[in-house]
């Protein structure tokens, strides 16, 4: 049965016709509607294709013609003598008048649009970053039903227990771990972002393969499934490496020197389960033993490396899933109890609850790291926008002084106040709209720039920054709010318009209330700028304090080579000997002063810690009983510039079979040792309680983070290690010049020793700088926006003072005629500026004290209320204020009394 024409089509067509200008609508809309309906019915009877074509063509036509007609109507308003109706559509008049009035003062308009563009652009840029980091959902099926098993990472045995019960708990579960994989077959490393994925990861996420297939549970078998080791690659890698060829399926991809078969490609836009990181290669967790790493991770009950996500069953609530998981908790925990866990820790392990957390927007280490700083910057750019609004209101008000006669004339001719306010709002909306367009362009470039700053060599950051409805909605909201804000400030001036002023030739308006509005705006600007300058000062000093903090090692002149010897065939037992040969090879390179090999490097991205056995009855907490460990070769301390304070360095005596030796730092001595440190013994908790003899003491040095306090650290000889992984850091201190300059000869030397080694190089300096990315970014952005705010406030202050001076020309002329000196006039003007500044600084100071509490967590080495920073900011503002006041004051002092009195 062919239903009669849907009412919806009828309504949609009449809505579409609203696009036409009102005059045209009045003449033709009804007829066009009839005509369109007949066309519609005819098209519909010809089939769905014709029906669709009708809608596409009709919408296209209407948009095209309506826009053209509107442009014509805008440019050539119908005039009475042409027979157009006398009552012109009110709103279109507003727009046209607004356009004319903005065009009449191009400089003001351009400045206003530029500052708005910057303000709105900065806001949109920050918001789009926050959006992709915090708000956006993962591009997968029903992201709302994904739950993350919370509390950090999990061991593979725990995952296997959950996997065995996944059907009971949920609609499916998967586990993954982020890892950087080396895709090179030989020589220099070729690192890409990758993930270890459980068999059903793509299936549970609901991400199909574009070509080929994704993993199955069978692929995730230990040591590889029926098809051997297989890999799924991202759309991006498919195009970058394989030119998007379909023949990529079945090709071999070398991952960590092990050949994998490519079985599928994931869709474009799917960046993996981690937000802020884009995966390129996924390989099954089960292939871990092939690729190596520390041995036996799959059965490691103390190796916490996997993230786990579940998908809720249809109709299942979060609470139900949590309850189900809690019920299974005892079995899961009991089955995975680490063998070496000290007895007193066991109850804790068994009872630590398995919690669920909504994972619709994915999991993100980046988020937890950057959410607070980005929110702080978001507030900063919001304030900058406020200041920009105040500035534009000020600018327009200053121009309004010139338009006062126009507005009074309008009032005198019968325009209502409402009519005039509406006109002013139309102007500000138009300005804000232009600003928003510019802002979107600024935001597009700005957000990419900021994200590029976030990326470091170790952690390339990937965020999907495309504008979605949230970003566009946000920008629209900001734009309208902005327009209303400064439009209302303008409108506040309208109240003082009196019609009878229009007939006076020179209304001198001594009681000009708009000056009051403008002064208020200036005080607000000064206050807000002070808050921003204080913030910039605090962040800048934090960065400076961290960057110059005594770290305990010398970061200059050190080059680090990360070496992977997986392919050499040397097993864990043979590796120490191979590493020693690499060290000697590196030390033989010309321009290398000393060379050393270690498990990790200062401020590196790997850490290793262990519990230390303490005497019974100790009050140390569990956290306080741990110490950092590093396994190092001889000459390590000299290479990294760490000072030894007592005992000896590691040397030939520390061989396998010799008594286990350790070098500890001062913090370690203070916490764990009593009496003479050299020769003292201590034991490692768990792991059969290995016992060490202290042979040396070194000065404290930063282990992993410049923000952290100096922590107890122990160093063990690399030569005595039995379970080393294939990856190691070779550090060399060069005699002079940039460390990267020796990379080539170092690579040659190392590859002569092991031709299969995979190498990558970076300087220690770069590694330290990368660890301060967040602080540098926050300091740079807040300094930039603080400077911008300062500039805007200065311009605002200058504007209002210049205006006041202009308005008081006659008065100043009289004063000077009566004997006031130029100095006296300058002082008079500056006093006024001084009051405004003082009010602004007082309010701003209070605001800063209140607001600084919220950024306390982001600071280092200083309290939020830092008197020096506050005083410095106030001083800076005072200088800017003095300059902004002095320029017009000087002009006031040059007023010629005769001219001022004559022209009055």
């Amino acid at each position: 049965m062919m239903p009669s024409r849907p009412a919806l089509a009828e309504r949609a067509l009449s809505w579409l016709l609203l696009a036409y200008p009102p005059l045209f609508r009045a003449r033709f809309a009804a007829r066009m509607h009839q005509s369109l309906l007949r066309e519609h019915d005819a098209a519909r009877s010809r089939g769905p294709a014709a029906h669709a074509a009708f809608w596409i063509l009709t919408v296209g036509d209407i948009i095209r013609f309506a826009a053209a007609l509107r442009v014509v109507a805008f440019r050539h308003p119908p005039r009475a003598e042409e027979g157009g109706p006398r009552m012109r559509p009110v709103l279109s008049v507003d727009w046209r008048d607004a356009w004319r009035s903005l065009r009449a003062a191009p400089l003001v308009t351009v400045i206003a649009v530029l500052s708005l563009g910057l303000g709105i652009g900065a806001n949109t840029a920050l918001f789009s970053i926050l959006n992709s980091l915090v708000l956006k959902s993962l591009p997968v099926r029903d992201p709302d039903r994904l739950m993350l098993v919370d509390h950090g990472s999990w061991t593979n045995p725990i995952w296997e227990e959950i996997r065995a019960r996944e059907g009971d708990i949920s609609d499916g579960a998967f586990a993954w771990a982020a890892e950087t994989f080396d895709l090179s077959s030989r020589g220099e490393t070729d690192p890409v972002e990758g993930i270890w994925a459980s068999g059903r990861l793509f299936e549970v996420l609901g991400v199909p393969a574009v070509i080929g297939r994704t993993f199955t549970s069978a692929d995730d078998a230990r040591g590889g499934g029926p098809d051997g080791p297989v890999a799924v690659i991202s759309y991006d890698l498919w195009h970058r490496r394989f030119g998007g060829e379909v023949g990529v399926i079945g090709r071999t991809l070398v991952v960590e020197r092990v050949p994998f078969t490519i079985i599928g490609v994931t869709p474009r836009g799917f960046f993996g389960p981690d937000v802020g990181r884009s995966y390129q290669v996924a390989i099954p967790i089960g292939t871990q033993p092939l690729v190596g790493g520390k041995g036996g991770v799959l059965d490691g009950r103390s190796d916490w490396w996997l993230e786990i996500m579940l998908r809720l069953k249809p109709g299942q609530s979060e609470a139900q899933a949590t309850a189900m998981l809690s019920a299974l908790q005892p079995q899961i925990r009991a089955a995975t109890l680490p063998a070496d866990l000290p007895a007193q820790e066991q109850p804790r392990y068994l009872s630590d609850p398995l919690k669920l957390l909504s994972a619709a927007s994915g999991r993100s280490p980046l988020r937890s790291r950057y959410e607070a700083p980005l929110t702080a910057i978001m507030v900063v750019v919001g304030i900058v926008l406020l200041i920009a609004c105040a500035n534009i209101a000020n600018l327009l008000l200053a121009r309004g002084a010139a338009r006062r006669r126009e507005l009074t004339l309008r009032v005198a001719l019968g325009a209502s106040r409402f009519r005039i306010v509406r006109q002013l709002l139309a102007e500000s909306l138009m300005l804000a709209g232009a600003g928003a367009l510019l802002g979107l362009a600024v935001a597009g470039a700005g957000s990419r720039l900021v994200v590029a700053q976030l990326s470091t060599m170790a952690n390339p950051v990937y965020l999907d920054l495309s504008f979605d409805w949230r970003v566009l909605g946000f920008t629209t909201l900001v734009t309208i709010t902005t327009a209303v804000l400064f439009g209302l400030a303008l409108a506040a001036g309208v109240r003082s318009i009196a019609p009878n002023e229009a007939v006076k030739e020179h209304a001198r308006g001594s009681s000009d209330r708009r000056l009051g509005v403008r002064q208020f705006l200036v005080v607000a600007q000064v206050a807000l700028s002070l808050a921003l300058v204080v913030g910039a000062g605090l962040f800048g000093r934090t960065f400076f304090a961290l960057a110059t903090r005594p770290s305990g090692f010398e970061r200059g002149s050190v080059l680090i080579a990360t070496v992977n010897v997986q392919k050499s065939g040397a097993n864990a037992a043979a590796r120490p000997e191979l590493f020693e040969r690499l060290r000697l090879a590196a030390a033989g390179v010309p321009a290398v002063r000393s060379a050393a090999v270690s498990f990790t490097t200062p401020v590196g991205d790997t850490g290793w810690n262990t519990g230390i056995t303490v005497p019974p009855g100790s009050t140390l907490t569990r956290r306080e009983r741990t110490a950092w460990i590093n396994a190092v070769s001889p000459a390590w301390f000299d290479t990294y510039g760490m000072r030894r304070v007592a005992g000896r360095d590691f040397d030939g005596r520390d061989q396998p079979g010799a008594p286990l030796a350790a070098i500890v730092n001062r913090a370690f001595v203070l916490r764990f040792l009593t009496g003479n440190a050299i020769g003292a013994r201590f034991t490692q908790a768990g792991r059969n309680g290995t016992s060490y003899e202290v042979v040396g003491v070194v000065e404290d040095a930063v282990y992993r983070s410049l923000r952290a306090e100096m922590a107890p650290t122990m160093f063990v000889p690399l030569a005595q290690q039995t379970d080393l992984g294939p990856s190691i850091s070779v550090g060399v201190r060069v005699a002079g010049g940039p460390p990267m300059a020796v990379a080539r000869s170092l690579a040659d030397a190392l590859q002569r020793e092991d031709p299969t080694a995979a190498l990558s190089f970076h300087s220690l300096e770069a590694q330290v700088n990368a660890s301060l990315t967040q602080e540098r970014l926050v300091a740079t952005l807040s300094a930039f926006f603080g400077g911008l705010a300062l500039l805007l406030a200065g311009v605002g202050l200058y504007g209002v003072t210049a205006y006041a001076v202009n308005a008081r020309r006659v008065e100043i002329g009289i004063r000077m005629a009566l004997g006031a000196t130029a100095t006296g006039v300058v002082r008079m003007i500056l006093r006024r500026v001084g009051w405004l500044m003082l009010a602004g600084v007082a309010i701003g100071g209070g605001l800063s004290v209140w607001a600084s509490r919220y950024i306390a967590a982001l600071l280092y080495g200083l309290r939020p209320f830092d008197p020096a920073t506050f005083a410095g900011a106030a001083l800076l503002l005072a200088v800017v204020g003095a300059l902004a006041g002095w320029l017009p004051a000087r002009r006031a002092a040059r007023v010629d009394p005769m001219i001022a009195l004559r022209d009055g």
Partner: protein
């Protein structure tokens, strides 16, 4: 008043309204067909569109949007007007009837003459232009 000055200057740069089709220059095919359809007797909008479709063999795509855009221009230029009466048995859905004004007929006649001259000129160029592969 400055506003008046401005709009006067702007319109004076263009041809004054209505002057467009008095000049002896080509008119758009769609306009030509619309005038043609309205030349004989008053016709309502939808019928004009169908006539144009038929007469042009579909080469002039005229849909509601473009038709009314042309129509409004033609009315503004005084080439087409709304016809007062309509047949007594008419379907009320048909809306208004239009017809070409005397000036519209003049423009049509001139365009016809122009096209005739053009075709004569083309035919005179070569004895027998090859035609008709289609």
């Amino acid at each position: 008043m400055s506003n008046m000055d401005m709009s006067w200057r702007r319109t004076s740069l263009k041809k004054s309204p209505g002057a467009g089709h008095d000049a002896a220059e080509p008119i758009k095919p769609a306009v030509f067909y619309i005038l043609l359809a309205l030349a004989e007797e008053p016709t309502h909008g939808y019928a004009v569109m169908q006539t144009v479709q038929a007469q042009s063999g579909g080469t002039v795509p005229l849909r509601t949007g473009s038709f009314y855009r042309h129509l409004s221009k033609l009315i503004d230029e005084g080439l087409v007007e709304e016809a007062a009466g309509r047949p007594p048995d008419d379907d009320p859905r048909r809306g208004a009837y239009y017809r070409a004004t005397p000036r519209g007929l003049r423009v049509l006649a001139r365009e016809r003459a122009r096209l005739a001259t053009l075709i004569a000129a083309v035919d005179a160029l070569r004895p027998a232009p090859r035609r008709g592969q289609a």
